[in-house]
Assembly symmetry: D2
Homo-oligomer: 253 residues x 4
């Protein structure tokens, strides 16, 4: 962070959580961003106004995020949202708020990891060219859900890309199996979840055709890996008024 | 194959099949083995006697193998068996035949791949030192069973090693999951099977503890990979009278 | 191959070689292609005309290919060329021939593997987003050159993508090293070549930034893996008059 | 840590460093160890005596470690040493001190990672069975030396295992290469070092024979990964009087 005039003033909501702290620490090292407000769950949103924040980064909870967004939009503060739980209804509500606040941008980003975004993008690009594709995700054993949200999302995107390309079902001659041996099936795509102590968050997309395979693997080893994505979001949101879902829209791919 | 006097004379039963042909081709390139009989399903076993075979390699079918073994043992021919389907009853029958034929060796080898045998061995050796372990096997999509026999066997061996070391269940906090997402469970060990066009036969054992993981991966890319194991078996069987199960007993590990 | 009227008639030049035989076998299984001529090094090119070939696939030698191309272009036969050795001078010569043969297409394809093409494409797309990138290629130990042509090409493309994105040199604090420990350096990108018995042709591009890595791996396990690329080339070349370098131009990426 | 009577009293030398802090934190979570002294570079060794430490863990510097060891041995305190820089001369000195202190155990452990130790062990066990073997190590780009000490050690051990098994040089037909493309050569074994932002410390040993490969990979993701090895050392050292080099001697492999 330096003192140039073009610094973007950022307030972080959820700044006391693990992810929030990592994001604050990361943003503070950036040369074009100034973290002007660190708002915890007990702090008033007024801090955003007092500090002159231009962009709010929300990494709070599904319970808190809608109130935060309504406040930001009403006060002309752009918002970058990493909090989960956005269904169609919530997106419609946000769009409604934004229709009265032209010029304000909101980015809902289910994933700030640029590596994960690229992995999904490449899986979708490659899918039409391969007869087979499966997904393996590997996480620490304290994770509650299986498969991971990213793996499910990847499967849905890959399945859609195969349909668009006119591909039929993946080949699979399995006739006798132990329950679960072929993984979960999401939109026709097999997804496997491993839980291993020592791992953080990892995913592999394996594509194969006659004589060759292509494997795309993402390894997330540290929360700090989210910082470049948050930075790209903070830099991009003022130039993208209205609602955007997915950081990939901001990346020059 | 050369003409030295110490050549072991080998007859291959099932010599016309894919695996049998590959084994014949491989043995013929060895310097200490002479393939003296190539017996197909329609050929008489008498060919073994006529050719003076000292060792028979049986890669036939579960239907044919017991008759072949009875014949070999009765005529003092050592046998190396890659054919599947040996349960306790069959093993007991073979032991009975061998009790009247001291000096004759029979090796029942569920797996001739030295790489696969080492993978299982290392998984067992490492198991006591890691809190987590899971198995991923990857095969071509025309395979009928899932998980593979090797993966099931690895899981059983690893589970036993963990019990012996006093380890409890693997850690797993999964509370919500799609059916199959965590794979099949064999003796408490999670096993995942992928079916991908372009692949042959592959397996990965992933072990993990706080801060580190150890991965042991075997890739079988060609049937020719079985030849060194068959050779080790052919060389070893005359010196191992009686019944042996598993090629690993012959390897100097 | 079926008997429909829309079959493309293809002649294969170099049809008796290993790659040529695999391509003939592969094309013969396609439903929209009819292999009408299989031309070996001793056979006359006239066979292309006699058989009515519309597209020639050339997998011959640097010595033979230019004569073949001149013949094809002069007779209005589209050409798909997998033969290596095309420098700027040769490309200029081909362009000259094509200027008198409007409507005829020639594709010079250094690589028919769609997996390898996608690997290179994805490496280039990802390069601007990661501070570090290195390339590992793994081949059978009878390969004469190191690193492989594909690895060098990937390094050059990745280096260019980094320059375009304004990235500086990759970070590397190595101050003491054994000769060769950090690999070969191609346009500033470190490239490592392994030679391992049992392998065929494999490449991994490892990209990394703070907290995360992205790995793109291509495994070529069998010559048959080139067939889909050759098919895409055969289907695409009539619609791409003039000279095209690189199959990627035909793929809908 | 609980209050049972069988607790081993441990003093940590170098307790304020990154590794030392992680070890203190890890030991404090163990149920059979009591950390009674945390000694920094400015603190007197007397703290070991005052606290009644039975075992000292030394993770200091090559400059400090010999003085620390002389003190410990003289006072009958067992020592576990992770500090580097032990050549034959230093080992001889320590053996001399120990000859006057029967019953005292010293373990010099170049590596506390059980995963790394197993990787090396398995590489050595597998080496006689494969024609080819190479080593790839991957680290963060702030590492000063290439290849890593663990990779060099693995190469030496694997080379010795090959010699003992009567294997000749690894096959390699490379005739034209860019400088460094085939890596560094340690005792005839090719070793490749990657430096990638986002990585911590990783190594892969790739072994191959006709038709199959075996890959052993160790990923160290966090300093906490050293704690189980330190614990095994602390528990083992009182029962191993005299000098031991390498934690593997304590593991039941």
């Amino acid at each position: 962070m330096n003192m140039g005039e073009s610094l973007t003033k950022v307030g972080v909501l959820g700044a006391r959580g693990k992810l929030g702290s990592a994001i604050v620490a990361g943003l503070e090292q950036s040369e074009d961003v100034d973290v002007v407000a660190r708002v915890g769950s007990a702090d008033p949103l007024q801090a955003l106004l007092d500090s002159g924040a231009e962009v709010a980064v929300d990494v709070t909870t599904p319970e808190a995020v809608m109130g935060n967004l309504e406040f930001c939009i009403a006060h002309g503060i752009h918002a970058v949202v990493g909090t989960t739980g956005f269904d169609e209804e919530r997106l419609a509500t946000v769009r409604g708020w934004l229709s009265d606040a032209r010029g304000v941008g909101v980015l809902i980003a289910p994933n700030f990891s640029i590596g994960a975004i690229l992995m999904m993008r490449f899986a979708v690009q490659a899918a039409p060219f391969f007869e087979s594709v499966e997904i393996v995700e590997l996480h620490h054993p304290t994770k509650a859900d299986a498969p991971s949200g990213t793996a499910r999302r990847t499967a849905e995107l890959v399945a859609a890309a195969r349909r668009d390309a006119g591909l039929g079902p993946v080949p699979d001659a399995t006739s006798t199996q132990l329950d679960g041996a072929r993984g979960a099936v999401v939109d026709g795509i097999h997804v496997h979840g491993l839980r291993i102590r020592g791992l953080v968050a990892h995913q592999e997309v394996v594509l194969g055709g006659v004589g060759e395979t292509l494997t795309i693997r993402h390894d997330s080893l540290d929360r700090a890996g989210f910082v470049p994505g948050v930075l790209a979001a903070v830099r991009g949101v003022p130039g993208h008024p209205g609602l955007t879902v997915g950081l990939e829209s901001y990346l020059d791919l």
